[in-house]
């Protein structure tokens, strides 16, 4: 166990996860686990063609099967009133819209639900769905991004449209040292452990309660209210626990609307749990993206020009865009930068953001190219980055609200033993394995949005904090409790109750984009501060810092004292650029004969402001690093383009990291507060935990072997070919 000795001891500092006991005892209720009288189960029958129309569908046998209550198809499904809204046939759609199930006979991707069976048990619904037979008029489909790259065009809408240019990007061509390479990130699938779930129950003709796997109860509430033309308050969405999501529950998908629709029809609660197969093409994925990075530097390693191009897949009916090339605009102090982003429509379902979203894809290309440049220059890759460090934001000229990236490089390099790295690849071995060290940088915007929080002191001594935000597993409840406990120092953590995941609570944004600790945390901070002031006014001047809240409330005959506060970031923020940074360091062992890559050591450093909740923050960084290892070494959604169908849509064939793949991982924090972003000085870290990791692994593999793999995942066949 010599390897273990060099690691920090098991990290148990900081408060325990507030929902930990519920999670380890099985008491935590995820969305499929609510027990309602008369429960029914929905199962989809799916199309086995990729593009075309349904010419006939035989549902008779399914309807006659035991326990079946309903079979919905495009021929009979009751209208979803909001599906017609906003349609102006005179205007062609610019960016399209999400797919709607059961509205017409068209098939737009393989595996698209063509019928929904509702039965009184899961087994009966599953069996009945297998009896549905459809005939199709098949059309020629296109699912291969590479083959359809020539059709790619700039997106018509969305915030990632438009080419970017500063200076004269073509300057790279005249540089002393140049890199011009193409990189590919294949389809990655979120694959959280919890399957997508929607449980809908109409409690009146115009009122519905939904238990949904969602990253935002308010956005799900709004989507359902719009679809069924209901007043928003008539839709109750509850999501107390989410079994991971990584982006696949950021939007409301058509199967959710179909479930609500089915529940209205059968007048009983309907539960839809998507199968693992359907996780691959029903709830989004990280799109296949081709990239090209062209960069040049002077002989002393100063960047002179970078051009970063990307082409990604989208669906035939909707534009999906992400910030794949955006990082290149501000990451390094380079006078001339150009970025080009295009998408190509295919006969597939729409992709969606997956952890680190486009930045994770972009960072693989940019940070691999930087490593290639350092190699050509013959300088250390960290040294190259320091020579091109951006002291101010080169994209807009603004100062950074805080940036401690140089310190992060140093911390990580020290910890992993970077000095042992050889500049010349393929020259270090241990016990017959090739050894390599690599690093990669990650960056993601750190802002603060608007949230409303209710905070109340109860006369039983509880501090109750409420807001609608969900916790997809990152530890939001724990971080919020920590923030509140730092203001109410006299109240023990166990007496602080943070209620979340309920659309009837004060509004918070959807959990995504690394914003919740800043946004909701800021609002929790503000609400608790105001509540404390209100209490101080109640007891008059001269109150102590640790008053007896229970005694005071009882004396004043108040069952509770409460405030509801809406807050958002300061206007000062507009004068700054604000980002969280990560630097990932990896040591790999590569077996020269088999091409097997073992990750031997990982150090991930986060520069994300003050660390609110150390224990959960460490887990978040480790988790992101592991996700990045998956992206680097094994994850790939493989489609057989002849049929437009996934061939590995399950956990056995789509590999994700397992325990045996993962060593001990050090998560280090610069831990310097950035009070411009929010009063805690905290910045997000969900995305940066993963961004840059795949490049770090690829760079380490190059350092070990001298083989540069530019198409993920880095599998043994690529290393041996």
């Amino acid at each position: 166990m010599k390897q273990q000795a060099q690691h920090t001891p098991p990290f148990t500092e900081g408060i325990n996860r507030v929902d930990g006991i519920m999670k380890v005892t099985g008491a935590a209720k995820y969305s499929a686990e609510y027990e309602l009288p008369g429960m029914t189960y929905a199962v989809f029958a799916i199309s086995n063609i990729t593009k075309g129309t349904i010419t006939s569908i035989d549902t008779k046998a399914a309807e006659r099967a035991p326990g079946v209550l309903a079979v919905l198809t495009h021929l009979n499904a009751p209208k979803v009133p909001g599906y017609e809204a906003g349609k102006d046939p005179s205007k062609p759609p610019t960016t399209g819209g999400p797919l709607k199930f059961f509205v017409d006979n068209s098939v737009k991707y393989n595996g698209q639900p063509i019928a929904m069976v509702v039965a009184d048990s899961f087994e009966r619904a599953t069996y009945a769905a297998s009896l549905i037979k459809a005939q199709y008029n098949k059309q020629q489909h296109e699912t291969d991004t590479e083959k359809n790259k020539f059709k790619a065009a700039a997106p018509k809408g969305g915030r990632n449209g438009g080419d970017y240019k500063r200076g004269t990007p073509d300057d790279w061509k005249a540089a002393a040292v140049k890199v011009e390479q193409e990189y590919v990130v294949p389809i990655n699938v979120h694959n959280p452990m919890e399957l997508s779930v929607t449980l809908a129950h109409w409690t009146a003709d115009d009122k519905v309660t939904v238990y949904a796997k969602t990253q935002g109860v308010k956005s799900t509430q709004n989507a359902i209210a719009q679809a069924f033309k209901l007043p928003v308050e008539n839709v109750q969405v509850t999501t107390k626990f989410v079994g991971g999501a990584f982006g696949n529950a950021l939007r409301t998908w058509p199967h959710e609307i179909a479930t609500v629709q089915a529940a209205k029809l059968v007048k009983r609660p309907v539960k839809t749990v998507l199968t693992r197969e359907l996780q691959f093409n029903t709830v989004g994925y990280r799109p296949y993206t081709w990239q090209k990075v062209s960069m040049g530097a002077s002989a002393d390693g100063k960047l002179t020009g970078i051009i970063h191009e990307a082409t990604a897949q989208t669906s035939s009916f909707e534009e999906f865009t992400e910030g794949t090339v955006n990082m290149t605009r501000f990451m390094y102090a380079c006078p001339s930068v150009g970025t080009v982003y295009k998408i190509t429509p295919l006969d597939v379902n729409t992709p969606t953001w997956m952890r680190g979203p486009g930045e994770a894809t972009g960072a693989f290309a940019l940070e691999s190219a930087m490593d290639e440049l350092a190699d050509k220059l013959g300088i250390d890759p960290i040294e190259l980055r320091i020579r091109n460090h951006a002291d101010t934001d080169p994209e807009n000229g603004k100062p950074f609200s805080s940036k401690n990236l140089k310190e992060a490089y140093e911390m990580g390099a020290d910890k992993i033993g970077w000095s042992k790295r050889k500049l010349k690849p393929g020259t270090l071995t241990e016990d017959g394995w090739l050894i390599g060290y690599g690093m990669g940088t990650g960056v993601f915007g750190a802002g603060r949005g608007r949230a409303t929080v209710k905070a109340a002191l109860l006369d039983n001594g509880t501090l109750l904090i409420q807001t609608s935000v969900t916790d997809i597993g990152v530890g939001t409840g724990t971080a919020m409790t920590q923030i509140a406990s730092e203001i109410f120092t006299g109240i023990p953590v166990k007496k602080i109750k943070f209620e979340l995941g309920d659309s009837s609570l004060p509004p918070s944004p959807t959990q995504g984009g690394s914003t919740i600790t800043s946004t909701v945390g800021g609002a929790v901070h503000d609400a608790c501060t105001q509540l404390k002031e209100k209490f101080q006014q109640l007891i008059g001047n001269g109150g102590t810092d640790k008053p007896d809240y229970v005694k005071v409330l009882k004396e004043k005959n108040l069952p509770q004292l409460e405030v509801t506060v809406t807050s958002s970031g300061s206007t000062e923020m507009r004068n700054f650029s604000s980002y969280s940074y990560s630097v990932h360091f990896v040591k790999v062992k590569v077996h020269p004969k088999t091409g097997v890559v073992r990750v031997d050591n990982v150090v991930s450093v986060a520069d994300s402001g003050h660390i609110v909740s150390p224990k959960t923050a460490r887990s978040q960084i480790i988790g992101g690093a592991i996700g990045g290892i998956g992206m680097a070494l094994m994850e790939e959604g493989i489609m057989d383009h002849r049929y437009g169908r996934y061939v590995n849509n399950n956990y056995a064939d789509y590999h994700v990291p397992i325990s045996a793949d993962i060593p001990q991982i050090d998560a280090l924090f610069v831990n310097k507060p950035d009070y411009r972003v929010n009063p805690m000085g905290a910045k997000g870290m969900g995305e940066i935990a993963l961004i840059g990791m795949s490049a770090a692994v690829a760079n380490a593999v190059y350092n070990a072997t001298g083989k540069r793999i530019r198409e993920l995942p880095i599998t043994p066949d690529k290393l041996l070919s």
Binding site: M1, T12, N16, R17, G20, I21, K23, V24, T25, G26, K29, Y30, A32, E35, M39, S56, T59, A62, E63, R64, P66, G67, L69, V71, L75, N76, D120, F122, E123, P192, M193, E194, L195, F241, V242, G243, V266, K267, R268, T275, R276, G473, V474, G475, R618, S619, Q620, I622, G623, N650, Y651, A652, V656, P657, I658, S659, A660, I662, P663, Q664
Partner: protein, 214 residues
């Protein structure tokens, strides 16, 4: 095809009106076998006795002890132990992650052995003792493995956690927790997509090294 009312309009007992298999049962000799006259049989059909008879033929008796509680059940043979636990016994601590035995979220103990309950037909555990995550603690006193998972933050979303903990307990009982490498190997049937593996390994090591009874 257009007129699917028959298909979905449930009667008051939420059973479909039209059902060829049930019709077959009504006309078959099964009902005569239970010594009913034709007139009575028709009456029986009106009272949905045919449904009940059909259900009786589809279901099989099974006796399972779950977390020390004996259950005398009548279930369809195709029901998995996982779905029995979650949908019929409402023990939802055991999780469904894949239904193919690929992820380990459904891990429970059957007569002390860890098994994937999604790959186990409930009928096959007739007469056996099943322990789920709900049966691990002694009242409010958590099992040492549960304590260690909290201390080492061996989870994020918590969805794989019950399966991880049931596997972790079995891993020690089997004698497969003697080194970090061995723990990783013998815990590799349980996927954690949030990536808590190092913390899980640390939790198991602590329990193992603490020598507590698991």
């Amino acid at each position: 095809m257009k007129d699917l009312d028959k298909g979905f309009q449930a009667d008051e007992n939420h059973e479909p009106k039209e059902n060829a298999r049930r019709d077959f049962l009504k006309k078959s000799s099964l009902l005569t076998a239970v010594a009913l006259t034709p007139g009575v049989a028709v009456k029986a059909a009106e009272n949905h006795l045919d449904e009940k008879v059909a259900a009786a033929f589809e279901k099989m008796p099974v006796n399972i002890t779950v977390n020390g509680k004996a259950h005398k059940l009548s279930i369809e043979p195709r029901v998995t132990l996982l779905d029995l636990l979650r949908e019929q016994l409402h023990l939802t601590g055991t999780k469904k992650g894949c239904d193919y035995g690929q992820c380990g979220a459904c891990t429970v103990h059957v007569d002390g052995q860890r098994v994937n309950s999604c790959l186990t037909l409930a009928m096959t555990v007739d007469g056996k003792k099943v322990t789920t995550i709900e049966g691990l603690a002694k009242g409010d006193e958590l099992h040492p493995m549960q304590e260690a998972f909290i201390k080492h933050d061996g989870f994020q979303c918590g969805y794989c956690t019950p399966g991880q903990i049931m596997s972790a307990v079995a891993c020690i009982r089997e004698g497969h927790a003697d080194s970090e490498t061995e723990i990783r190997e013998y815990m590799s049937g349980n996927i954690c997509r949030c990536g808590a593996y190092p913390n899980i390994v640390n939790a198991i090591q602590e329990v193992k090294n603490g020598g507590q009874q698991v």
